[in-house]
């Protein structure tokens, strides 16, 4: 109940800050000029606030609990992306005067038709990014209010579209900056409290995964899907009707709806296909789900680091800086703010392995940050901490998804159709509906898998377009278009295949699940090869030099 109140409070406060922000902006001479006067610090906070999504607040801790320490490479990639932004795109993008990537494509290559293609890629990226946000919101709402998952997703869709319609999200800067503070506080305060409260024994257990993972107390587990799991040692569990069942060491299958009560101190079973909780694969800090840890880690790092610069809603924000110089400094500020935030999710993952290992059996690890405080701290203190994390997670969902929805609607009405304001509203509603419909069957897919999909597509399409457009004067229109198509199709198709269809075993699985290592070079190579075959216009060099002149 407290959690629902806290979430409501975050929603209402963001609306109030938003409406106040609109008024403040209107009282100055002009809305646009005012937004360009936003100070670098506010701007950096707003970018960080919009960027830290459900993937960071919920997904990281959950995946860390499930797959191990390697998960933190996602956080490093999310942060390192801004180093690439500083080095390659922040300044020149600001000087191009383009608000969005399609605008930039039109500036650099002078072709309105390329704008439509870019607008379509924006749609794909934004939808892939929106779905996990809705999933996160659905999971959190379902958890704190006890409603089914689909109700949570639907409610989240209504809340976001409603708040955009009310206009509260328009003055994004202040709302997003406010959300950064909310997210940081609401994840940091419970984390610090949990570490202090846990006591030396639990802390030592969290840092020594090789001691094994045991149920901290008598734990009922209800399997919601058919689950195969392995046991290292025999264990006696209790069924709901009171009978005891002896499970021998070895493999077992629990059918859907089975309820077992595991006794205190029993070793946690390993679900099939996941690394042993606390085993060597779990504690080695590399991403390893298919047996090729180094390739997987590098491919994911490439996708996230290079994908960051291709995210439409991130690029848009740099335009609110008055000069290219400030745009670069803002990006450096974002790195500091993100680095500070990413110190905390790891706490939930590490303590979660000791205190709530059953989430791995339930395939509900994305909820660990919300479940853990109530489980670890008994009484009202735990309830309040859980409410804080839930509200922070909902804030993450709210700020990111409203930013994404606005970018998506903007893409729909500005780049694909020549739209007006009513069309923009309609586009918001359509975008939210599609995202909700796609999020409904996505309950079992990890938030971070979906987010990395969006990053992979961005890195295989807009990253080559921006990098070559800014730093290579020979890029031509056919080159850019063919590279966009090749990169977009391969990246979307490969990850989609690995999620939705069975994959051939061995290398093929890894190459399909983590395709960035081959789709990004492929997109670059296509753009460069086709550009070499065609002639750039005479003014191409001016367009490039213009981007670098102070």
């Amino acid at each position: 109940m407290i959690s629902v109140l806290a979430i409501g409070l975050v929603v209402v406060t963001s609306l109030v800050v938003g409406i106040y922000g609109v008024r403040a902006a209107r009282s100055t001479s002009d809305f646009l000029v005012a937004s360009r006067r936003v100070s670098p610090n506010w701007n950096a906070m707003a970018i960080a606030g919009e960027y830290l999504s459900a993937a960071s607040v919920l997904g990281l801790a959950g995946l860390l609990l499930k797959n191990g320490l390697g998960t933190m490479w996602y956080a490093v990639g999310f942060c390192a992306g801004y180093v690439a932004v500083v080095a390659l795109v922040a300044g020149p993008m600001r000087r191009s005067g383009a608000f969005t990537v399609p605008d930039f494509a039109e500036y650099r290559l002078g072709a309105p038709r390329l704008r439509k293609l870019c607008g379509f890629v924006v749609l794909v990226i934004m939808l892939l990014y929106l779905v996990p946000q809705f999933k996160g919101a659905g999971v959190v709402l379902a958890l704190v209010s006890g409603t089914p998952y689909w109700v949570g997703v639907l409610l989240a869709g209504i809340v976001v579209s409603g708040s955009i319609a009310a206009g509260g999200m328009r003055s994004a800067t202040y709302v997003q900056a406010f959300h950064y503070v909310i997210k940081l506080l609401f994840i940091a305060v419970p984390a610090i409290y949990l570490v202090a409260y846990a006591g030396p024994e639990v802390r030592a257990q969290a840092l020594h995964p090789e001691w094994g993972t045991h149920f901290p107390e008598t734990t009922p587990v209800e399997f919601t899907v058919d689950t195969r799991f392995g046991l290292d040692e025999p264990v006696t569990v209790t069924a709901p009707d009171g009978t005891t069942i002896d499970l021998a060491a070895g493999d077992h299958t629990a059918s859907e709806g089975t309820r077992y009560v595991f006794p205190e101190g029993a070793a946690v079973p390993h679900p099939q296909g996941l690394p042993d909780l606390g085993g060597e694969r779990w504690s080695t800090p590399l991403l390893d789900s298919g047996g090729y840890p180094l390739f997987e880690t590098w491919s994911t790092l490439l996708a996230i680091t290079l994908g960051c610069m291709g995210l439409p809603h991130v690029i848009m924000r740099f335009h609110t800086s008055p000069t290219a110089r400030t745009a670069r400094r803002v990006a450096v500020g974002v790195i500091a703010l993100l680095g500070l935030f990413y110190l905390f999710p790891v706490v939930y993952g590490l303590l979660g392995r000791v205190l709530t290992p059953q989430l791995v059996l339930l395939q509900g690890t994305d909820t660990v940050a919300v479940v853990l405080p109530a489980q670890a701290v008994p009484g009202s203190a735990g309830t309040i901490l859980t409410a804080l994390v839930a509200a922070g997670a909902f804030g993450a969902f709210l700020s990111t998804s409203s930013g994404l929805l606005l970018a998506l609607a903007g893409g729909l009405s500005h780049d694909l159709f020549q739209g007006s304001v009513p069309r923009l509203r309609l586009a918001v509603a359509v975008g939210a509906c599609v995202a909700v419909l796609l999020a409904l069957p996505a309950e079992a897919i990890d938030i971070n898998v979906l987010v990395v999909w969006a990053f992979t597509v961005a890195a295989s399409t807009f990253c080559p377009l921006l990098v070559l457009g800014i730093w290579w004067r020979r890029l031509t229109l056919p080159g850019a278009a063919s590279g966009l198509i090749v990169g977009g199709v391969t990246a979307t198709g490969a990850v989609g295949w690995s999620i939705l269809l069975p994959t051939p075993p061995g290398w093929a699985t890894v190459l399909l699940a983590q395709p960035a290592a081959w789709t990004i070079p492929l997109a670059f190579a296509t753009m460069m090869a086709v550009s070499r075959l065609t002639r750039p216009p005479d003014w191409a060099e001016h367009a490039v030099l213009r981007l670098h002149s102070p």
Partner: protein, 126 residues
Amino acid sequence: MSPRREKLTSPQTRIALARGNRPAQHLLPIPEPVDTEAARRLFRIQRRAAVRTVSLLSLLLFGMSGSFALWPVLTQVRLGGVPLSWLLLVVAVYPLLFLLALWHVRTAERAEECAEVGRGKDDTTP
């Protein structure tokens, strides 16, 4: 009978109405640089800085993950009770990323300042 009322609008409004729903043309025109050679020089300096930063970034990310794969001992060695590789990945990497970005900004801004000073000299010479 009063004369027909005429709607008065500001010139800006008339322009806006005439333009209809077409998207605003906020894109800059692309003029030839004042001094093409100087602009090319600055471009090359900036490109060198960008290549250096991106190489260092790759070295940091790929080198760190590569060393975790090469030397599993990094996870066994403990610093203050925490495995060394965890500390590197979870804490130490962020200040390094920040310093790298800061260094790049310094380099890029210095290059721009130099270019501006150079252009200022050109303006004063007759």
